[in-house]
């Protein structure tokens, strides 16, 4: 091996170590695809409740009382809340599985500094968003729930892009754009939501899988 080649390999090693020590690179494209599928199924189940062909309140008798009292538990008395919670949890679990498999395959510990940093930075905008949306629902501003989800999630992704593979910021920008457009099409939130969390996740995941994980 000549000197040039050796230098080149050393530089590539340095770059790899810098990436490895500062970014969580095990995030699998398949995680994006599976989360997107969960979102589409969730949106499909939620559809009749959102558009009023099915009653979204679980116990009508309790609902009036809760509403009168301004009770926060009213939100738990809706099918939509439980559909949303189940969608979120299954999407998260399925995303975790594929990323876990990839990190095992690459021999990178899953729960390292980079994973913690990524999780923290994505969580801050998401938690703030969750509180904000909770208040929106409390005041009955349902039309802003879907754009709110898209906007805060988009911000979370843009914020996270410094701590994982950088391409995720484009997914973030797309979610932000979608969320902003949705602000002027209140009432079609579920479709925007399904496109952002479903279709965009699948497209992004497929692209990332094709670029980094295809053998």
């Amino acid at each position: 091996m000549n000197e040039q080649q050796q230098s080149l390999e050393t530089l590539q090693d340095i770059k790899k170590m810098m990436e490895r020590s500062s970014r969580f690179i095990s995030l699998s494209g398949l995680s994006g695809i599976s989360a997107g599928i969960c979102a589409l199924i969730g949106a499909w189940i939620a559809h009749p409740y959102v558009f009023g062909t099915r009653d979204f309140v679980i116990h009508r008798s309790m609902a009036v009382e809760q509403a009168m009292a301004g009770d926060y538990s009213a939100i738990f008395n809706t099918w939509l809340f439980w559909i949303a919670a189940a969608t979120f949890l299954t999407a998260l679990a399925s995303a975790f599985i594929f990323t876990y498999v990839r990190s095992k395959k690459e021999g990178i510990p899953l729960w390292g500094v980079t994973a913690k940093r990524l999780l923290f930075n994505v969580s801050v905008p998401l938690l703030v968003g969750a509180i904000f949306i909770f208040r929106l629902i409390h005041f009955g501003t349902f039309g802003l729930v879907a754009p709110g989800c898209l906007l805060f999630y988009g911000l979370g992704l843009v914020n996270a892009s410094k701590y994982t593979l950088g391409e995720i910021k484009y997914l973030g920008y797309c979610q932000l754009l979608l969320g902003i457009i949705n602000l002027w099409f209140v009432g079609y939130g579920l479709y925007f939501w399904a496109f952002g969390f479903g279709v965009l996740h699948i497209l992004y995941g497929a692209y990332m899988w094709w670029k980094y994980e295809r053998d």
């Binding site: 170590m17 810098m18 020590s21 500062s22 390292g112």
Partner: protein, 99 residues
């Protein structure tokens, strides 16, 4: 004589040390266990390389506690940063030399 090899620092003549320096260049500080996991080497091996870098004032060490466990973190010094950058520049020059 202008030979780029002169700028190649003997201190970084090991994969482990390059790994340590790479990690410290992009992180404010890294603790011993994370370095060990990153480089996948034994305690003794890592400690000896860290010691050499510390003795040359390339990195600095801070010993602290997390609960009752010792937590030793490492960070790069200003001069260490400069020297490592010069090392990278020298490597780049060597690649360009034949192009």
């Amino acid at each position: 004589m202008l030979n780029p090899i002169d700028n190649l620092n003997k201190l970084f003549d090991s994969r482990v040390r390059l790994g340590i320096m790479s990690a410290l260049m992009v992180n404010d500080e890294v603790n011993f266990n994370d370095l060990k996991e990153l480089l996948q080497i034994t305690d003794g091996n890592l400690a000896s390389h860290l010691k050499a870098l510390e003795e040359n004032s390339i990195i600095k060490v801070e010993k602290g506690f997390v609960g009752r466990k010792t937590n030793t973190t490492y960070s790069i010094t200003k001069s260490g940063q400069k020297i490592f950058k010069a090392h990278i520049d020298a490597l780049e020059k060597m690649i360009r030399a034949t192009k």
